[in-house]
């Protein structure tokens, strides 16, 4: 166990409160991950990272800051990492996934705000997350009303830049997003003091694409009937991918994919034949939110795909690498990011197309559409998602939950009944 107390103290963290978080994390990690049998050996990397989640990576970021690099904290898959990388900056995800931080958020936000937003604000204001302390600048976006208002509060405490995400996907919206990316690039240049050149941006685009390809490789392995990895393990990999260095992330994901592909060739599965295959869709599952996956996978089913921001939306679609001018590259970035099907868009039929496609690709038996409480956008889309899936003959269960443990029995009952129904 490394001693990170000095680092946390230097970051101005509330050590007493943080110690309470340190008490609950090992229990949850043990219960969710270490109770599994026959996990891929390559998961040892993510086991290490989650064991030292507030230690190793924060220490790395601080070392890079000492060399003059800036750290940008982000909350959404619409924020283009490539722009930050091209200016020599570092990106770290900041979405809060723990109930531990929710009361701190509720001190300044309405209770009827989604737990992800409350936890994110609580993590910053409560000074109990090193990533929220380390980030030199937060980059927000306009993907929901709750976030927009929360960013105003966070902006009083930390430098904040907001990207205005379009609400529709017409050609003029793609051009508008391109302009937003260009404006963001100017801000990043000013903040880092580094010029973004076409060469640097091309290199950054390539790095981000390689990371996407590696994540896709792991997901491709889950399409096999011989399931070589649990949904819980993939979820952990995805959650950590938002924090990790992108080159190392790609390397470790490719290492994992090598093992998974070998497992498929050898017929090694983590579940018994006939286990029902579930696609989970809905709002993101920020670390350490493992409740839904753990309940599903201890109820006789396996999660084989996540159609969400902490899932396929993060890595599907590559950025065209052929651009040679910043203008062409910003357009290529816009075209790729605007393919992400977030519920903040209207209409958002692309998400339904994705779901129907993925249900086939991943050979799913049923879909669980789960949104966080008070997320009006995803809650509303359940209607059209459910209708489309039913029309396609795919069973669907719609759920709503938060970060508390209060509804676990209810979730177990509903998910257990759904899995039983899939068995017919």
């Amino acid at each position: 166990m490394s001693d990170y107390v000095k680092m946390w103290k230097d970051l101005g963290m509330d050590l007493e409160s943080h110690d309470l978080l340190c008490q609950v994390l090992p229990t949850a990690v043990g219960d969710v991950f270490l109770t599994q049998e026959n996990r891929p050996k390559a998961m040892d990397f993510w086991d290490l990272v989650i064991s030292e989640v507030h230690g190793i990576r924060p220490a790395e970021l601080i070392e890079e800051q000492k060399k003059g690099r800036k750290v940008f904290g982000t909350f959404c898959v619409y924020v283009p990492d490539e722009v930050v990388l091209a200016a020599g900056g570092i990106v770290t995800g900041l979405c809060g996934g723990s109930q531990f931080w929710v009361p701190g958020g509720e001190a300044v936000l309405p209770k009827s705000t989604c737990p992800l937003i409350k936890a994110s604000v609580g993590a910053r204001l409560g000074r109990t997350c090193p990533f929220f302390r380390i980030a030199d600048m937060y980059v927000g976006e306009t993907t929901c009303d709750g976030k927009k208002k929360a960013y105003e509060i966070l902006g009083e405490d930390v430098p904040m830049y907001i990207m205005d995400v379009p609400q529709m996907k017409r050609e003029k919206d793609i051009l508008k997003w391109k302009d937003e990316i260009a404006a963001f690039a100017e801000k990043v240049e000013e903040f880092t003091g580094n010029k973004i050149t076409p060469e640097k941006l091309n290199e950054a685009i390539h790095i981000a694409n390689e990371k996407r390809k590696a994540l896709q490789r792991v997901y491709d392995c889950r399409k096999s009937k011989c399931l070589p990895i649990s949904g819980r393990d993939v979820l952990l990999m995805m959650q950590i991918s938002f924090f990790d260095d992108p080159v190392r992330c790609a390397k470790m994901c490719n290492r994992l994919a090598d093992e998974l592909e070998q497992r498929i060739r050898d017929g090694v599965s983590v579940v018994s034949a006939g286990t029902k295959r579930i696609l989970v869709t809905g709002t993101p599952l920020a670390v350490p939110n493992w409740k839904l996956h753990n309940i599903i996978e201890t109820s006789g089913a396996a999660v084989v795909c996540e159609e969400m921001c902490t899932g396929t939306r993060y890595f599907e679609n590559l950025v065209d690498e052929s651009g040679t001018t910043l203008d062409e590259q910003f357009m290529a970035l816009s075209r790729r990011y605007m393919k992400t099907n977030c519920a903040c868009f209207t209409p958002n039929t692309g998400r339904i197309d994705d779901l129907l496609r993925m249900a086939k690709e991943y050979q799913v038996d049923g879909v669980i559409d789960c949104s966080l409480k008070f997320c009006c956008l995803y809650d509303t889309e359940k209607y059209s998602v459910s209708r489309a899936l039913k029309e396609a003959g795919i069973p669907v269960l719609s759920l709503e939950t938060d970060y508390t443990d209060a509804d676990t029995e209810q979730l177990r009952t509903r998910i257990g009944a759904f899995v039983e129904m899939l068995h017919g």
Binding site: S2, Y4, V24, A28, V32, D47, L48, S98, Y403
Partner: protein, 90 residues
């Protein structure tokens, strides 16, 4: 169903020591897993990784540690740590 089994947590001063032992044990075919050290046994050290051993691997692990002079802080037995249906998240 609660798993009351006693398991052994090898603690370290830093994660480099922990990873070195994890790799050493793995290279010698001794089953071990990386786990966050339960708060109850962290003592004066702050939270971080440990190496988790099932009881049937303890003696072989100790012999391997001794033979290779591998560094560690302590080995602590602890029961009832892993429960898939506990439903206590963070």
């Amino acid at each position: 169903m609660a798993d009351r089994r006693v398991r052994y947590y090898v603690l370290f001063v830093n994660y480099e020591q922990g990873m070195a032992l994890h790799e050493l044990l793995t290279a010698h075919g001794i089953e071990n897993r990386i786990a966050p050290a339960p708060r109850a046994i962290q003592g004066k050290l702050s939270c971080g990784m440990s190496v988790l051993l099932e009881p049937e691997w303890l003696e072989r692990a100790k012999a391997c540690i001794g033979e290779h002079h591998a560094e560690y802080y302590d080995i602590v037995p602890l029961a009832d740590q892993l429960r898939a249906h506990r439903d206590r998240y963070c």
